[in-house]
Subunit: 228 residues, 2 copies
Amino acid sequence: MNDKKKVSLAVVRRLPRYYRYLADLLKMDITRISSKELSARMGITASQIRQDLNCFGGFGQQGYGYNVEVLFREIGAILGLTNNYTTIIIGAGHMGQALANYKNFEKRGFKNIGIFDVKEEIIGKEINGIKVMHIDELDEFVKHHKVDIAMLTVPYEVTPIVAEKAAKLGIKGLWNFSPMDLKLPYDVIIENVHLSDSLMVLGYRLNERFCKGGRGEAKSGDAKDGEK
Amino acid sequence: MNDKKKVSLAVVRRLPRYYRYLADLLKMDITRISSKELSARMGITASQIRQDLNCFGGFGQQGYGYNVEVLFREIGAILGLTNNYTTIIIGAGHMGQALANYKNFEKRGFKNIGIFDVKEEIIGKEINGIKVMHIDELDEFVKHHKVDIAMLTVPYEVTPIVAEKAAKLGIKGLWNFSPMDLKLPYDVIIENVHLSDSLMVLGYRLNERFCKGGRGEAKSGDAKDGEK
């Protein structure tokens, strides 16, 4: 787990899925699982699973399979979920409010501690127990709180400006919801969420399956699982 | 473009990005572009670009590059964006309202025509010009309107039930926001949006870059571009 070998982002992007499936297994009191069984559940080949988990030193034992709880905990640690990340939301519009109310983030170890906006009518309003602050208060806030991640749900045009402001204040993680591949000349990590991309892929698959008399896909829901 | 060759989902998942970048180029009045220039902008190798676009017959000309407008139009058609897809939103909570107010979907050819919920206090309320209906009205609504896609923003527990209801009514595309890999024994296409997954990948990258003294990554924003 402390192996410093560079792991490809393609593998990293599959880790949250492992984490989710393992959480489900734990809930069902399943304590160990073979790569073959995990493969059947997740729609990833068993060899892919073994290969992925080997990147981190591998936690499986021949003939026994994986200890679900150990694997769950280790993947959580690899993902940094044990770091108790703190987040703020910049932009208290609809999407910002949706994120502020999303229960799953805290469960995954991300605690939201601030919400910022510029609109006077929303400043001071409470969203999921947190009062919206004016963006001008951000500097002061960051001085007094550890802020790891800023979720950016601001209008498209101002996204680069707001992102730069956050980066300059030393916030190292930016989670961007504007439909752009945000890039900054700072030492920060940016993840861009492209909701429309996912919708467009759905559009493609509908077109392929139902509009062109194509061969279609074997079973609903499977395609993404196998390839993402 | 009407080539029936099966295209891998990995390629399909890159198409919306091409589409976005081409839209930006059009806005900048750039009429043609080489795979090399496109590569520099997108952070995908030029050979990957040529290979991807070849899957659909290829639109480039040696020594000329790609005609931006033609390529944009063709990729839009491949994605089915010319189908004038209609959507409904089931679940008018925070995320449902965020989606209802999201401007980008209609720009991409997805028109929202209905919002449904079960909470009495929200029925009849107008969200982005559309009155929220009770879920019991869904059957009747689907009989009288073409509905291609249901966006599911309902609580986790009821997601499979609501999804099944939509599928039984003949809605062929389901866009699921609950943190589960939804599967149904129906002939439908499901895209699962896992917001937490993206956040967890951000957590991983922060951990890798700033917490372990790792080698880090070359430039912010680049990693995802190259590999997704």
